[in-house]
């Protein structure tokens, strides 16, 4: 005997003690699919037979069943399920997750069950219990359907039970195997002429009957049409549209989901009493002129429509009014109702129409949801959902979405066939404005395409504080610079960081060619400039506005002016630049004073004073030799330290004296430039410098092939010269660009920094160059810093990718937020 069971369902086994339920379950399902009441009694009470624990045990069982069903996993409940209240609990769980409840009844003779029970040492109840259970079973059989079980299989006797086989059936809405390509067509509403025109524009060939009426259409590339419903009402030829679509569906050239208008028409045709409003009278009148046989076909066609489909490996969902993620591939009354009508808030708007619940704004699913139902002037992607109803019957247009290319094709309506109750929603009322806190707070797991990361809740909380109080508008903040790891500690005498280690690091990562870029000692600044100037901003590495509006605005204006030729050349309305703003003192003036220069001033005053004391003590004939030498060395070191920070202090007044050193062009409209090589990036940077040499500082660089020792030696020499002149050092980057991957396809570090010997005094203290201190510092652990740098880099690339593909704001924000959160990780800030 074959038992048909929907792929996703809740299967309740029903049978008396000793009927062989557990054996049956073990034969047909994996142990993890079967939730046994005995097991849960054991979990909560340490005794599988403790009936007093049943209530708690079922609570937990229902909870686990709910989690499994929410995740889309078939679940089997192994319990006697002889009482209607017990079964009601299961039906409720199934309904809550919009899956079908199925009952499989194992009906064995009472005597056999008693025999089996007696054979078990852990069952101590008497025969009368089995008798009572059997009576309950008899009574249950007639009630299962009424209780809501959608499939009921009754296996009578040992032989039938032994012979039973389970066969899984797909849900009607499961068309994951259909890969199209599809032409998904919005609400037609009886506009047959526009439908014909649109199909023509999409490359379909219409098939006409003897009366020249279109009854089918074929596409030379084998495309498939998908109709989002509302074929009928209001328009001039609903029967004509139905004839064409029904023909296409029958021929396997189209798929169709019902709209609320089909639903209402079917109710009318089925003889139900419905209000004759919203264009239904026109349709009925048009159908009057049709052959009754055709009308009967229409009725059968609509009755057979499935309210939504999951297509293309689950990447595409089509439903008339859209569908929230929890309902994808599910089957229940409320799923159908959502698909047909959407959800309303219970309120009505000023035109007396119901206010729709903005499900799309909250949608976070990975499947694209394509729908109609709500007329909008321009179809727009909102969180991976799109409404194709462009109000054709109201004089708008009939729109199709080509899948998977996501191209929109539309034909305008010939005229306004029907006056709308309210004007079409304008884009100003865009429903996904603002960001939702639920997308960033708490412990979050993010798969960002280059890897996966978990943001701990406390890091998210810290990032929220910065984002909430100090950052530029999060929707403007489309990228944050990743932290950068230093090169492996050098063994070259007197050096903690040295070019040879930087080259070795990149060579080990499989990089053949690198670019050494001068590392500017200033403050990181990310710049977004556009042709129009709206939405432009300049922000720091933690996303704060750079100086404040008084200086940021004029600075952005100058950058915008210099970038003007680039907008045209790169065919973009805006650009995102990665830069360093100089001098360091422009932004960090108070930090330099409080921190570095303060130490310098204190040291330069204290050490000579101490040396004077010691000289006078020595003058009295006492021996202070060792102490004096130590303090003298310190005095030299504090001078070196002072010289190091002093090199980055330059007078500025407002923007006078401020310069910007761009070194990467990260993104433009619809494009991430992460795959461009650094010659490309730096050439554009040079163009900016040429356009406004006073504002921009060039980035000196040297390209090194890592198999060329002479080039390496030259670069080392260059680094020594740069750092001797007070330069911070250099960054060594894979020449191929930001998105460079290794042989296994993993990202490599976008660069390693190699800081100058004198510069590092600011970081590690004036005396760090002493041999014993250097030895200790060389043992610094870079592992955490490197993995953090790589993770932040990957998140940043993901932000650029998501931005380029036009992802919703929250998708970009999610990864940018994760970069900020990563900055809360405890990593030595000196690295």
């Amino acid at each position: 005997m074959i038992l048909d069971v929907p792929e996703l369902s809740l299967v309740a086994l029903v049978g008396i003690s000793g009927s062989g339920k557990s054996t049956f379950a073990a034969r047909h399902w994996a142990p993890t699919q079967v939730l046994s009441s005995d097991f849960f009694r054991g979990l909560v009470a340490d005794d599988e037979n403790d009936q007093s624990a049943s209530s708690d045990a079922f609570d937990v069982l229902h909870y686990v069943a709910g989690k499994r069903l929410a995740a889309g996993r078939l679940t089997v409940v192994d319990a006697t399920n002889l009482q209607s209240h017990a079964r009601a609990g299961l039906v409720k769980v199934a309904r809550e997750h919009d899956v079908l409840p199925v009952a499989v009844v194992l009906d064995v003779p009472e005597s056999l069950a008693w025999e089996r029970t007696q054979a078990r040492t852990d069952r101590t109840f008497g025969r009368q219990v089995i008798t009572r259970m059997h009576r309950d079973l008899r009574r249950s059989l007639g009630q299962l359907a009424k209780e809501g079980f959608r499939k009921i299989h009754v296996l009578r006797g040992v032989d039938e039970i032994a012979a039973a086989e389970i066969r899984y059936e797909k849900l009607f809405n499961d068309l994951k195997g259909e890969h199209g390509p599809f032409d998904i067509i919005g609400d037609v509403h009886g506009c047959r002429a526009e439908l014909e025109a649109l199909l023509g524009k999409l490359g379909w060939h219409l098939v006409r009957d003897e009366r020249d009426r279109p009854v089918d259409a074929t596409h030379p590339e084998g495309r498939k049409a998908v109709f989002v419903g509302d074929l009928v009402d209001r328009g001039p030829d609903s029967p004509g549209v139905l004839r064409l679509v029904m023909g296409m569906v029958a021929a396997g050239h189209a798929i169709c989901v019902p709209g609320n208008h089909e639903q209402k028409l079917a109710r009318k045709l089925n003889g139900r009493n419905v209000q004759l409003t919203h264009g239904l009278p026109e349709t009925l009148e048009q159908l009057e002129a049709e052959d009754p046989a055709f009308v009967a076909e229409v009725r059968v066609f609509i009755d057979g429509l499935v309210s939504h489909y999951v297509l293309d490996d689950g990447n595409l969902v089509v439903a008339h009014a859209g569908l929230k993620e929890a309902y994808h591939g599910r089957a229940s009354g409320r799923v159908r109702s959502f698909a047909l009508y959407g959800e309303t808030t219970g309120e009505t708007d000023e035109y007396g129409l119901p206010v729709r619940y903005p499900w799309a704004r909250e949608y976070r699913g990975s499947a694209a949801v394509v729908y109609g139902h709500v007329p909008t002037p321009v179809p727009e992607w909102i969180n991976n959902t799109i409404c194709l109803d462009t109000g054709c019957v109201f004089g708008g247009a009939l729109t199709a979405l080509r899948w998977p290319s996501r191209e929109l094709v539309a034909v305008p309506a010939a005229k306004e066939y029907y006056a709308p109750v309210r004007p079409l929603l304008t884009t100003a009322a865009k429903p996904d404005q603002g960001l939702d806190i639920a997308d960033v707070t708490g412990r979050r797991h993010i798969d960002y395409g280059y890897g996966q990361t978990t943001v701990p809740a406390e890091n998210a909380a810290a990032a929220l504080e910065v984002m909430g109080r100090f950052s530029v508008d999060p929707e403007t903040l489309v990228w944050l610079p990743p932290t950068m790891a230093p090169c492996t500690s050098s063994t070259v005498e007197g050096y903690l960081e040295h070019p040879s280690s930087a080259f070795a690091d990149l060579r080990a990562a499989g990089v053949e060619r690198v670019v050494c870029e001068e590392k500017h000692m200033g403050s990181r600044a990310v710049v977004r400039v556009s042709v129009s100037g709206t939405g432009d901003a300049i922000w720091t590495r933690t996303g704060r506005p750079f100086f404040g509006p008084e200086l940021d605005e004029p600075l952005l204006a100058r950058i915008r002016a210099a970038a003007a030729p680039l907008f045209a050349e790169l065919e973009t309305g805006w650009l995102l630049l990665d830069t360093e703003l100089l001098p360091w003192s422009a932004k960090a003036g108070s930090l330099i004073r409080d921190q570095y220069a303060g130490v310098g001033a204190a040291g330069r005053a204290a050490l000579p004073a101490a040396l004077t004391v010691l000289d006078r003590v020595a003058g009295r004939g006492l021996d202070v030799g060792g102490l004096r030498d130590r303090l003298e060395l310190r005095a030299t070191e504090i001078e070196g330290f002072s010289a190091a920070y002093r090199a980055y202090v330059k007078p500025t007044d407002g923007l006078t004296g401020v310069t910007v050193a761009p070194f990467a062009v990260l993104a433009g409209a619809g494009v991430s430039y992460a795959k461009r090589d650094h010659d490309w990036h730096l050439a554009l940077a040079d163009r900016l410098v040429a356009a406004d040499p006073e504002l921009f500082t060039p980035t000196r660089r040297m390209i090194v092939d890592l198999d060329d020792p002479a080039a390496e030696a030259a670069a080392t020499e260059w680094w020594l010269t740069l750092t001797a002149a007070g330069g911070e050092g250099m960054v060594v980057k894979p020449w191929a660009g930001l998105a460079r991957t290794d042989a296994k396809g993993r990202l490599v570090q976008p660069g390693v920094k190699c800081r100058g010997r004198e510069y590092l005094r600011i970081i590690y203290g004036p005396e760090y160059t002493r041999p014993e201190q250097l030895d200790q510092l060389r043992r610094r652990n870079l592992g955490r810093k490197r993995s953090l740098a790589l993770r932040e880099h990957g998140l940043g690339l993901a932000a650029l990718d998501r931005l380029a593909e036009g992802a919703p704001a929250w998708r970009v924000h999610e990864v940018v937020f994760a970069i900020l959160a990563a900055e809360s990780e405890p990593v030595d800030p000196r690295l």
Binding site: P545, A606, V617, I762
Partner: protein, 453 residues
């Protein structure tokens, strides 16, 4: 790291007896952060100088870094006089600090001409003077300048003190006031520090006009310790001085009036489920909790530290269950939509909006008025016109204020928000109003317009 003590009392070399350190030798002592040396750059009949030089070992200092403020690897500890030097002083001059001297007991009890030089000390000349002058010192404090490239003065001073005092008093002054000026302790301040402070301050601290500042800073800003220390000090004081310290009766402070005004507005709208948005450390929440009419109170803030502070203030962990169920604290940022904030009778934004950058304010409006949509919203913010009444106030009332509005600006904002989101609004002043400038705080009460069903 260095201080010198000079006397011109004859024979000046007796200083060696008082300090119990022979002028003819170099004395070295191991201390936890390095080596302390006592040496004499001059030791003549008419003038003798002892120098205390603390040679700090950065490695050893670093090993202690968890114990103190060494958030920065690079710091001034090896150079500036600080609690490190004070500790070394207490250790090497232990008996001199007590005023004891086996060899010269009378001299130890006698005021003699003394000069002290501390070449590098954190502080301002003004503060150094305020601390040492009342103790009988003539003070010369010169700021140490930055290099010419930066210009201006650093936060360090070169200090010369002179006066006629007992050596023990001089040392005790230094022991207490060096860390006070430095305003940082290199070790965790435990309650037994009170005892050390009182011992070293005996005879001079209780009458010092800056005793509050000294106690606070010495006890590393641990308010409870400082309060205890001050109470102990006052116990020794004659009653007359105590009375002078009593606060004069004054009218309720503005913060309190603001809370009252907000509570009154909540009563006015009949709210029982209330949001305190930007609750901070819970100043308003404590008042809300007392109102039995409120059945649900949610305090929301972006700062987790503020929320922890509020939880402590409300004693959330000790409230009985029934009480605790009424109140919840959540972290949120008002520039994001937050479903947890929906469905309340009223929301309070007390002194919150001025902490949001103006360009971000529409996001807050959308999140609060558009998304959370409480029945009423109460907003308070400073009236910038009133600022002329604050003496010495330059700029805004708080360093984190992003803007402060005139009454006209606030009214215009309130009306446009009300119109955009379907609320009606009334505006009132809070605090004593001035005829010209109006009240110090302005309050807007928004009520949702009836929804047409």
């Amino acid at each position: 790291m260095l201080l010198t003590l000079t006397t011109t009392h004859r024979p000046a070399t007796d200083l060696g007896y008082l300090l119990v350190k022979h002028p003819g030798k170099v004395h070295s002592f191991d201390v936890p952060t390095g080596t302390a040396h006592v040496l004499y750059p001059e030791a003549e009949e008419d003038r003798c100088t002892a120098a205390l030089l603390l040679d700090i070992d950065p490695q050893r200092l670093r090993a202690q870094r968890d114990a103190f403020e060494l958030s920065q690897y690079v710091n001034d500890r090896p150079y500036a006089a600080s609690s490190l030097l004070a500790s070394a002083l207490a250790r090497v001059f232990r008996s001199a600090l007590r005023g004891a001297s086996r060899d010269r007991p009378e001299l130890a009890a006698t005021s003699i001409p003394l000069e002290i030089h501390v070449p590098v000390l954190r502080g301002t000349p003004e503060l150094v003077s305020r601390l040492f002058t009342p103790l009988g010192w003539q003070v010369t404090a010169t700021p140490i300048p930055f290099e010419a490239e930066l210009g201006g003065d650093s936060r360090y001073v070169d200090v010369h003190l002179s006066g006629e005092l007992r050596v023990a008093d001089a040392l005790n002054h230094l022991y207490v006031l060096l860390p006070v000026l430095d305003d940082g302790k290199h070790y965790w301040v435990a309650p037994d520090e009170i005892e050390k402070l009182l011992r070293s301050g005996e005879g001079w601290l209780a009458a010092h006009p800056e005793k509050v500042l000294i106690a606070r800073r010495y006890l590393a800003h641990r308010r409870s310790l400082a309060t205890t220390a001050l109470q102990l000090l006052e116990a020794d004081q004659p009653a007359t001085e105590e009375e002078a310290e009593l606060p004069v009766t004054r009218r309720a402070p503005l913060a309190e009036q603001r809370r009252e005004a907000v509570l009154a507005a909540l009563t006015e709208v009949g709210a029982s489920r209330v949001l305190d948005l930007g609750c901070g450390g819970g100043a308003l929440l404590t008042a809300l909790v007392k109102d039995r009419g409120l059945t649900e109170i949610v305090g929301a803030d972006v700062s987790t530290r503020s929320l922890e502070q509020a939880a402590r203030r409300l004693r959330l962990d000790r409230l009985p269950e029934r009480q605790k169920d009424r109140i919840r604290l959540i972290q949120t940022a008002l520039t994001y939509r937050d479903d947890r904030l929906r469905g309340f009778d009223a929301a309070v934004l007390m002194e919150v909006i001025e902490h949001i950058d103006l360009p971000r304010l529409p996001a807050l409006e959308a999140a609060v008025f558009g998304h959370a949509r409480p029945g009423a919203v109460i907003v308070t913010t400073p009236n910038v016109e009133y600022n002329v009444h604050y003496d010495g106030l330059t700029g805004m009332r708080h360093s984190d204020h992003r803007f402060e509005w005139t009454r006209a600006e606030f009214a215009a904002w309130a009306e446009s928000v009300a119109a955009a989101h379907g609320y009606t609004v009334t505006i009132r002043g809070v605090g004593e109003a001035d005829e010209v400038t109006g009240a110090p705080t302005q309050l807007a009460l928004f009520k949702i317009s009836e929804v047409t069903a």
